[in-house]
Symmetry: D4
Subunit: 250 residues, 8 copies
Amino acid sequence: MNRQILTTLLTDLKNGTLSLEETVNRLSTFPAETLDNACLDHQRTLRTGIPEVIFGAGKTPEQIISIASAFLKQNTILLATRVNEEKAAIVTEALPSLTYYQEAHMLTCNEQRESPDNYRGYTAIISAGTSDIPVAEEARITLSTLGHPVKTLYDAGVAGLHRILNHSSLLSAAEVIIVAAGMEGALPSVIGGLVSRPVIAVPTSIGYGASFSGIAALLGMLNSCAPGVAVVNIDNGFGAACMAEAINRI
Amino acid sequence: MNRQILTTLLTDLKNGTLSLEETVNRLSTFPAETLDNACLDHQRTLRTGIPEVIFGAGKTPEQIISIASAFLKQNTILLATRVNEEKAAIVTEALPSLTYYQEAHMLTCNEQRESPDNYRGYTAIISAGTSDIPVAEEARITLSTLGHPVKTLYDAGVAGLHRILNHSSLLSAAEVIIVAAGMEGALPSVIGGLVSRPVIAVPTSIGYGASFSGIAALLGMLNSCAPGVAVVNIDNGFGAACMAEAINRI
Amino acid sequence: MNRQILTTLLTDLKNGTLSLEETVNRLSTFPAETLDNACLDHQRTLRTGIPEVIFGAGKTPEQIISIASAFLKQNTILLATRVNEEKAAIVTEALPSLTYYQEAHMLTCNEQRESPDNYRGYTAIISAGTSDIPVAEEARITLSTLGHPVKTLYDAGVAGLHRILNHSSLLSAAEVIIVAAGMEGALPSVIGGLVSRPVIAVPTSIGYGASFSGIAALLGMLNSCAPGVAVVNIDNGFGAACMAEAINRI
Amino acid sequence: MNRQILTTLLTDLKNGTLSLEETVNRLSTFPAETLDNACLDHQRTLRTGIPEVIFGAGKTPEQIISIASAFLKQNTILLATRVNEEKAAIVTEALPSLTYYQEAHMLTCNEQRESPDNYRGYTAIISAGTSDIPVAEEARITLSTLGHPVKTLYDAGVAGLHRILNHSSLLSAAEVIIVAAGMEGALPSVIGGLVSRPVIAVPTSIGYGASFSGIAALLGMLNSCAPGVAVVNIDNGFGAACMAEAINRI
Amino acid sequence: MNRQILTTLLTDLKNGTLSLEETVNRLSTFPAETLDNACLDHQRTLRTGIPEVIFGAGKTPEQIISIASAFLKQNTILLATRVNEEKAAIVTEALPSLTYYQEAHMLTCNEQRESPDNYRGYTAIISAGTSDIPVAEEARITLSTLGHPVKTLYDAGVAGLHRILNHSSLLSAAEVIIVAAGMEGALPSVIGGLVSRPVIAVPTSIGYGASFSGIAALLGMLNSCAPGVAVVNIDNGFGAACMAEAINRI
Amino acid sequence: MNRQILTTLLTDLKNGTLSLEETVNRLSTFPAETLDNACLDHQRTLRTGIPEVIFGAGKTPEQIISIASAFLKQNTILLATRVNEEKAAIVTEALPSLTYYQEAHMLTCNEQRESPDNYRGYTAIISAGTSDIPVAEEARITLSTLGHPVKTLYDAGVAGLHRILNHSSLLSAAEVIIVAAGMEGALPSVIGGLVSRPVIAVPTSIGYGASFSGIAALLGMLNSCAPGVAVVNIDNGFGAACMAEAINRI
Amino acid sequence: MNRQILTTLLTDLKNGTLSLEETVNRLSTFPAETLDNACLDHQRTLRTGIPEVIFGAGKTPEQIISIASAFLKQNTILLATRVNEEKAAIVTEALPSLTYYQEAHMLTCNEQRESPDNYRGYTAIISAGTSDIPVAEEARITLSTLGHPVKTLYDAGVAGLHRILNHSSLLSAAEVIIVAAGMEGALPSVIGGLVSRPVIAVPTSIGYGASFSGIAALLGMLNSCAPGVAVVNIDNGFGAACMAEAINRI
Amino acid sequence: MNRQILTTLLTDLKNGTLSLEETVNRLSTFPAETLDNACLDHQRTLRTGIPEVIFGAGKTPEQIISIASAFLKQNTILLATRVNEEKAAIVTEALPSLTYYQEAHMLTCNEQRESPDNYRGYTAIISAGTSDIPVAEEARITLSTLGHPVKTLYDAGVAGLHRILNHSSLLSAAEVIIVAAGMEGALPSVIGGLVSRPVIAVPTSIGYGASFSGIAALLGMLNSCAPGVAVVNIDNGFGAACMAEAINRI
């Protein structure tokens, strides 16, 4: 409820077009509406393209079906993350219009077409190893479902620098770069030293022993000596995509 | 050394303008130059506005003076971080053209004028408490030295939500938002839930006991349930500024 | 056994009303009785309404049946926590009078009616997300089984502040507030900043990566910058209910 | 701004007593005011007795003097925590009306008289050892400055149980119990097993080696097997006092 | 091989009773024998009663059968720890002379009779809760298999002090006390404050959330403020028994 | 106060030998005395030889002087640990009868003569390196002040096994062995594999980097694969001495 | 592309043998080629004998089959690590020429014969316990597949020093020593103190409780007080073998 | 004492050349001698060139002077590490023949000349940043004092890859490579991916916040995805040098 709407409302009251009681009622929801304004992810979503997202990890298939059905009725983009194969089978049987991406563990529906006009450029998604691809794919599916242009380069870790250097144009032409890496998580530092674009580093839980399920990669990325690197949670491809969307969306 | 320079060089060789030996010599530094291309932070700096930065924490005043002098000869922007007062006194006595920012623990020289045309908008810098201000100031001085437009809102923590909500227009009009917070580090989540701009969260080491010198805030920010939040190292105001510069620079 | 009782007892001995042997016997249990006084959880339980509780996590169904049967004979309130579905099926087949709450993983029997007269007011139980509900339910079932008045507000996390602000009257009218939250665990700080009632914060293990099974939420809550917040163990809805009972019981 | 105020405002507009512009202006601060309502710690403070508090740890003496002066002008209770002796000397020289409590590291002014009528009873503050007394004193000074009735029992650790058992009446007659303990932090468990009152456990950083500056005590308290125990941050005597105030204040 | 045996050996050589070659052979195993002296757990075992022990956790049933068979041929005491039920079924089918203790997860054979004459007294084994009993049982089976006199007191945690105080004579008459406790692990401190006997504290992994699989109990015990307490690894009932054997064996 | 004493007391009352008032007085301290029984470290101290100990780390010189003076009046053994040189200078100036052991950071008074008849044998104290000697000395001074026979072997770490093996008789003839080691803390495992005596392992904070102030040594000792090893807190030479006293005292 | 090749290329250009465009093209791939030079693990592999390795942990059997097939076509040595039995069964059914080593969890093909001439000597692989053998075997299979001479000594932990001392010649004659140990991880320190050869320490995850899945062993090894010890990741037998290969290969 | 020496000894006994008593005496020191053989670091030192080293961190200047004097009498190489400037001033005043290296915090004496014939090649020492130089220097001084050929390349971190790539010949021609790096510690991975020589990675404590005094770098290096990398303790330049010496010494 911006100033203009408020002025109209009060003018209506003054003019008698609106009763005092009705005006009070509507204004007494004003704080709520203001806050709805702030949090009405629903409306903001439709405007900015970031849909409501179902965090599938702690939910039963039935709960996912129920929430997804509500979304489908509104015809909004549907994104569900961390849905394992078993759950996905049950959900997609009930809701056949949903697409399941096995590697990304995601369910989507009502995907947007790629809409370059809404973005400053494309987001490059890099994975250090093949094992990091599921996290990279979570970012990719999230973005492409929103219509966000994406290019990918997978399996380009620091132990073979030529792989990343050979594709430096892919990196330097990107608007945003997402880098998913496990183990020592050094790739964002190397890329951050090569290009001037914002790098969103996603530590993955790939590794063993002293990788501590991604802590080694997380710490490595937080301590990156290269400028222009920021970090999201371990395995949080979805979060990286949200940050890229926030940066890249016009 | 781009394709054009290379063509010229070889044409010169072909034409006899350049001796074979000289060409070999110059090309034998080609990988270096190519790599300089990749890493020539120097050239890239001049182009993107991110200067070489002196990390003052592990250096003696003499080392800082020596490096800073080299920078001053090139007339480039000079930024030194984590320079305590004692060191700063020695350095500024030797190099009086440097400015010392006591709260940010920074030395600068050859600051740029604010140059809005180079940026998509301004960066909003928010601190949760007054104790977080030094970290916020490290970000602010870094950005303003580069000519990056900045607005600040300090002491606006979650325990008094009205403080942040009263300035929601400052947030929603920003291109990028940097949020410095210690203790539980909840402010980026709240702001991330209110606006659609990219939020760069900076955990600070403010707190005691189970804040573990910023770990509590760091973990809180990494686990933010709000979209569009990415995190830099504890107390790394400079790193947040670099990320903001990478995002906001046209 | 205070000084007065002791004087009477010894006077009785001196007067011959009490035999030497009997006095010795009673006094020789004196330390024990004093300590029984202190620890007679049984008697205190009947008086204060906090029942003996079966911690089901490390017990076999047979052990649970055996202990529960002993309780049932005394007709006392029965509460068993952390009983998974598989165990519950075996136990309830053997003891059909028990009720199983699947979401809370609890078994109860001999529940009390809600008895507002015994309490200063009601306890509000808030969950930040839907995934935190099982922990909130553990608190709710514990309290309602004791007859403690409870109101709930689920899925009201900080990323959508209006949800909590819209229900501020529910919060401000409560005598005690229990807040269950995972991930960054910021909700207790926000609520603690809005109301003057004691807030019992329950970190949950909901999250992934750097949530470290609830450590992020735990640390966030311990470092809350809002006054009037205290914390119980991760996922300890039962413990939060005990604290609420201790505070709210007249 | 409640419904009544809103109705009056709008009636004034309708009656022409208030201009449209002025009404818009005042209503456009409505969300802010509503949130001020929620967070107006100032007003709530005056009402509930919890004053604004200066966290002295990260502040210079000059900053403390400046903030304290502002408080003194309002004649409100002044509490500053974590002010070391050196800072306190400077502050009290500038502001002689302030009282410095050396052991608690606190500065106060405008202390309230003890006002039993405002409380359900007294708060008992227990310290396990003599070294935990500064933390206990931070709680005591906070409460007594608010007028909150307090009784103390210091140096009553679990290695000599008789010390605590000899004072069981002090414990059982209290409305709230604060227990400060370092090292293994076992005292809250023992007290929680003896009485039915809410126990606020404060781990202290007293200890060495594997006490890890209070982590051992913190974990011990969070895992307490006794009911009715909740925990605040390490060394957070002030936070324990705030929780006690929230519980005990009528 | 002590000096006497060595003298005899060499006298035999000098006398010609032993050939040079045989003497060389036997002496060339001398360092080995010397070291065997140090490490000949075999011989020392027979002498001190501590048998070779099979750590079953990382072994296949086949490996356990193979090692156990070798032991059985020597008719020595056999102890295998951390053998789950599934493995035990296979092993005991192959080696029916072995006894399986389900709660302690142990296999034994050739148990010694209780032999009080070999010990200074009995070892008291206390468990804080019922869930700690398997760890306590690992200690008990280890000791009783060696013939070590043992008395037990299970489920006597600090939340009900009378349980432990009512059995103070069991404690004070013991030669050694083993205390197994999970969660906050406070029981050894309380017992260490009551008696002057050596207390071997065994943290257990019982608990959840911030018990961190026994870390909370471990830290609590290491920081015990009571004298005469030493600690073994989490869940290491066997290690506690070995320490008790070393102390108590005459 | 056992049953016999109680019977006598009451008989005296019945007989008129004791007045009612006096009996009440003595019995009204009964719970206290009973608990004194449990905790009367004072009486138990005189009996077992373990004196009250002053933990000097968190105390001012004035506090130490005050407590020590009280002890001196009772002519009991005085032990104060963790008293740095600066504090010690002040204390010994005020109380010249105290002896300061600089390396052990201890103050003592009224030391006992060595009294072999009260002990089963001697305690061997081993340090791995020279830097571990202060911790070993804290154990040695504690024991020798009590009259406990002690032998020492310092600087005998695992990197030079012959040092420890050359003194195997010192080890095997001991009743108890205390081993202080920092860095990797491997020495207790090696010694535990060589002898059948109880080994009390004391991790020290000696080391740097990944020694984490003694955590590496602590974990190494807790995981010792040798039988008969138990562990005390990091740098806790005093605690090791208490355990040795509890084991070795007849 | 060394100086000679570069000279030839440019001479060709000068001579007209090569067109300007072609020279530019080839030189513009120069950085790539240089980097290929640096990273051409393929060529370097063939030269040094270290094959491309498949990290099986995060891959499906299908992915392993696909990658392995590509390798088999090139007839290179094939090594796949961390392939569990289930996956191995599927892979070896599809690719029968592969050998599966169950204990080492490895698949190999095209193994090299042992080629002592390529090495300075043999690598000794020691395991502390039988449970550490799988990690030791990962190192052994890796090395022997490369043709690297290896000798092994398994189950030679510090609790029985004679086992290692009896085989000191095996150690002292080795060129490199790999030591795999779990629990307290003390064996590398002991061996490092006995011989002058480089010791590669491999912590294993064998242990329980405070071994924290290998952290105790890892820290112990990093803090080794013996010279000539370096450490690889927990359970990383393969990494230890790579280090040994790098050291020992002529 | 090998088999031959033993045969001679016994033959002498048999022949009467050696008395029985003398033979017994010599053989009874046999284990000791064997172990001396194993641990005689002194002799082995003279032979291999690794001197006894004084760990200066926990020692007083007086202790260092005393130990150093003993070394000087033997005319052996003297190395003392972690000697701060203040201590060094006192020591060098007493022992003027010692040289102090301020950046490496080392004292040396009787340095060896560089002796390439004793080594397979040179060791390259790389530091990622200028702040890592002190650690690199500790390695360099250690090696050069032993006569070990060394080349250095300082300030060549991953954020500017060209710096390291420009010196690839320095790396590829080295026999061993030591890499000191703080912050994210990524440099060893990059170098390990470029060359086939053994890389000894030294994490440094350089950094702040989530570098956790070198933990981030340590974990990064342990998880290196490049082959041929092993790790020493944080800041342990000396340990890296010992490993290099063990590898490189002929």
